[in-house]
Symmetry: C2
Subunit: 142 residues, 2 copies
DNA sequence: TAATATTGTATTGTACACAATTTAATTTTG
DNA sequence: CAAAATTAAATTGTGTACAATACAATATTA
């Protein structure tokens, strides 16, 4: 058995596991909002930027249209967002919050703190972690 | 706009992005083996442990039967693993490597180094990262 | 030992995630 | 200005991921 191929020697695996566990940790917190974790991320950027088209959301969240189109349709079905084709450039679909979607921000406010408590990290560790991850992200992109 | 809900203030998001980018970074390297990243993880544990049942693989990789059953069937269809129901306890399905699956380890040997180069991390940073991630993983599990 | 509980896997349903392709609209350029 | 190139979404197909459920086999216990 090649030592280098042992699971415990893979850097990728803890990251992969952690990402899944984070989604799982969000699930109960997002239940009251009736959204999934990726849907919550879309709401986050819409609360921040008010109005974005599909491409812009994809750039912010690193998601492509094959993921976003059905996800946004589900948010639309829940009356959380509006999907409107731009009249200036009809290729573009503008996504905006409905009143209901915008008002959900109030209920979401308590979520980040709850997650941070679950993570049990010190501020120092959180800064280190973000720094290292961003370093990888900046170089890994082909 | 609540500052705490800004995307850039979320710890979860870089982890989520990084996990996806790692899968993407593996894709071209795994193409020659004709496996996906989760399939590669299954092969990793099989190369290490030789023989595991479905439950054991799930515990090692934090995956449930709903994910593993079809994934293992795909590996079986590629003639990389055998699925055999245990004669001692017929509920158990033992997963073992075929000759082809075992021999793939040779070709995989070069992959971890290539990934590590893509990450551009120093050994020190890699240790820090693993440490912090494991700290979160140990506490986040409900 | 018969009734009950637990265990291990499979199945079903919903929701990402991304490659590849398609379609329509806009821009570029010859 | 028309042909070609580019752009933005949507669609299709494959493959995870997980909750919930089903089901059969084994273990427990009254």
């Amino acid at each position: 058995m090649k030592e280098i191929l042992k699971l415990s020697n893979q850097l990728c695996f803890p990251i992969y596991s952690l990402s899944k566990e984070i989604s799982n940790a969000y699930r109960p917190l997002l239940e009251s909002l009736d959204v999934t974790y990726p849907q919550y991320l879309v709401l986050l950027v819409l609360w921040e930027y008010k109005k974005l088209n599909v491409r812009e959301i994809g750039e912010l969240l690193h998601l492509d249209s094959g993921t976003l189109t059905p996800l946004l349709k589900r948010l639309e079905a829940k009356s959380l967002v509006n999907r409107n084709r731009s009249t200036i450039d009809e290729r573009i679909v503008e996504i905006s919050l409905t009143h209901k979607g915008a008002s959900l921000e109030e209920s979401a406010e308590c979520i980040p703190k709850q997650l941070k408590e679950k993570s049990s990290l010190t501020d120092q560790e959180q800064i280190q972690l973000t720094h290292i991850i961003n370093k990888i992200l900046n170089t890994i992109k082909t």
